[in-house]
Symmetry: C2
Subunit: 413 residues, 2 copies
């Protein structure tokens, strides 16, 4: 990723299919003020706070697990159909801190390993490095997770004396693959987790951005056995600049003090040593957005959902034009049902060297899939993100990409 | 600390000398709006940003090292007389994340240990636990750091094959002791660090709150040899609810990639795996406060400085009345030059059991010093914080404390 960032800085005018950032065009800085005032009104009118309590809420350190846990629980009820105890919610500094907390809690010694569906989000890989926790890759495949691979990896790890503590995955529109689990796979995965006594870390930043109107239940909403720790993010549905994420960790666990309690409370102890608490002002911004939209972030993102859908269709149509299926380009791609990303497969390697040529000579940026896993298949793949481009940029960007690939193909034949 | 929090929740009406929180009475939530608008104006007028750039700054993910590094550098110039390269500043989620980043960067394997002047801030101890880094205690003593102890601990550690990577201390009005290093000790400490090839982690949350008008130069401002990593906090001088801290890490180091660069850039890599970046909205609040006050936080805190000074004087006078030096109470205390804390020494143990009696039967809270270190001397000591009480609370709180101590003394004789 460092190389990509460097390239992006060296070629700022290149059309970029690289960053997984949300579209910012519907945002105005005034929203921040509106959201803060909305939360202040909530504290006074719904919570019955006086001026001193309101002032203290904005000004002082706050509760380690966060101050908007009740609002997040209401949002999960409205948007996901999940009823969670607000005490099981831990508000975090973005989902990245949530991943760190979960991994740090799961990692007791060098026998503990994490499973991750591959190709996998780079932020997850980073968090595992910080806690010195090896990652065992589970094949993703066309279904989003290859259950045979998962079972095999768990068995082999246990046979080697390792303790697979959890399996990380994005069930909806994964980063980088764009792939989602179908409903049957979700059920089968939960059954497997139960049978193998395995925890699942479900990360869900993109779930609302379906392009076909179909929303599948999250793993957490199907989780009767308490197998799922849910990693929530407001970076794509709320406002990335607030840096607010959260966990739902309603498992009962035995803590270091021998007492049984919520996993959320164990995570809270770790958070107190890491960031003390999440900025109440930043939390207030997200709370204000939740309150403004009646806790319905799916509804609040209607314009974004439509925009990403249109971009995906435009991108797929453009790819079809440039690389017709009856042609000999050797280029193919997947067709995700939504999210921010699609994956292109090339007849040759898509590495940093090709990225540099692409940026310098063709003015177009993308992300090599080899950043996300060690599967040999990824070597010839690249990720295209379509969340921050418009139709004209998609057209021009694809034209440039096609020119690059055509030239490369001629060079190599 | 968990026990103290529990006690505080069970006895919410007790007068509390426990929390190290800043006084909030001069704050209004409207300040948050003012600060955000001031930063927005700065982006437009001083940085020349257009609407799109301003919107992006507030809305999107930002630079990993932070977006207010230039303003923090100007603040350090104005308030501390330090000229630092803004690129050496890493903005963090409070000073707690700053400590974690520094420790995680310094910890390569199990031979690496941290030295800490004892008694030591509990947040530091927490961060060392998260990175599995043992702490070797260095005696604090009346000068704030016992240099003979420091040298001995380093030598003994090295003789055992350990690598003392740094020594953590608060040079001004330490938490919990309230003690400050005098100027000669600062110079001698820097010389010792140079001679022993040791890094110093200087944490400075309370430096501005002197009660006698005298400000001593920070270790960082005297640091000709690049021995000091400066841990900055806006929690007491800015606004705790923003959760903004920072590091100044201008040392040149060889990174994992073999390239020489700023320590700040190594810390930034760790931060990208921990919290990605600090909320730009939270940063904007602190930036607005800095801009509003011409980067002079010492001046901005004139009322708080006076209030803490008056509280300290009132507390010391009250202690003198209740426990006169020609009396037989056996109670003594130190007389810090400022900060938030003083330490009382009792003729018996000041532990959780006594704290519970104190809260339940006398309605007064304080912090056992044994929370902050293993020195046997701390067993009979307690910390009184005077930042969040007024004169009447000090009077009443001290009367209650005196009644507790008197009753305990009679019980034990």
């Amino acid at each position: 990723m460092n190389f990509l960032n460097e390239i992006a800085q060296r070629f700022p005018d290149a059309i970029s299919f690289a960053p997984g950032r949300p579209f910012e065009g519907f945002f105005a800085t005034e929203h921040v003020h509106d959201y803060l005032r909305r939360f202040e009104r909530y504290l006074k009118e719904e919570k019955g706070y006086d001026e001193t309590q309101v002032r203290r809420t904005f000004f002082q350190y706050g509760r380690t697990k966060g101050i908007i846990h009740e609002l997040i629980a209401r949002h999960l009820e409205v948007d996901e159909g999940i009823t969670v105890d607000p005490e099981s919610v831990v508000v975090t500094v973005g989902c990245q801190e949530a991943m760190f907390l979960a991994l740090r809690a799961l990692r007791a010694d060098e026998r503990d390993v994490l499973l991750a569906v591959s190709p996998s989000y780079v932020g997850l890989t980073g968090a595992t490095r910080l806690v010195d926790m090896p990652v065992l890759e589970v094949a993703g495949g066309p279904k989003g997770v290859d259950l045979d691979s998962l079972e095999r990896v768990v068995r082999e790890a246990r046979a080697r004396g390792l303790r697979p503590r959890a399996c990380y995955l994005v069930a909806d529109f994964a980063n980088p693959s764009g792939v989602s689990l179908d409903l049957a796979t979700r059920h089968a995965l939960l059954e497997l987790a139960e049978r193998m006594d395995l925890l699942l870390l479900e990360d869900n930043p993109y779930g609302y951005f379906n392009a076909d109107g179909e929303r599948l239940p999250t793993l957490k909403s199907l989780d009767a056995g308490g197998r799922v720790v849910y990693l929530g993010s407001f970076a794509k549905t709320g406002l990335p600049g607030a840096r607010i994420g959260y966990l739902v960790a309603d498992q009962r666990v035995v803590g270091a003090d021998g007492r049984t309690g919520l996993l959320a409370d164990e995570l809270s102890k770790i958070k107190s040593m890491l960031t003390v608490n999440t900025s109440p002002i930043a939390q207030a911004v997200i709370a204000g957005k939740l309150l403004t939209h009646g806790f319905d972030l799916y509804g609040a993102n209607a314009r974004e959902i439509a925009l990403y859908r249109d971009n995906l269709r435009h991108l797929l149509a453009g790819l079809q034009r440039h690389f017709p299926s009856d042609g000999d380009s050797g280029v193919s791609w997947n067709e995700p049902r939504g999210g921010f990303f699609i994956v292109l497969s090339l007849p040759f390697v898509a590495d940093d060297a090709l990225l540099e040529v692409s940026a310098r000579d063709y003015g177009v940026l993308w992300t090599p899939m080899s950043y996300f896993g060690s599967d040999p298949e990824t070597a010839c793949q690249l990720r295209l993100s379509y969340s921050q481009v418009d139709a004209a940029q998609i057209d021009e960007g694809l034209a440039r990409l096609a020119a690059l690939l055509s030239a490369q193909r001629q060079d190599r034949t």
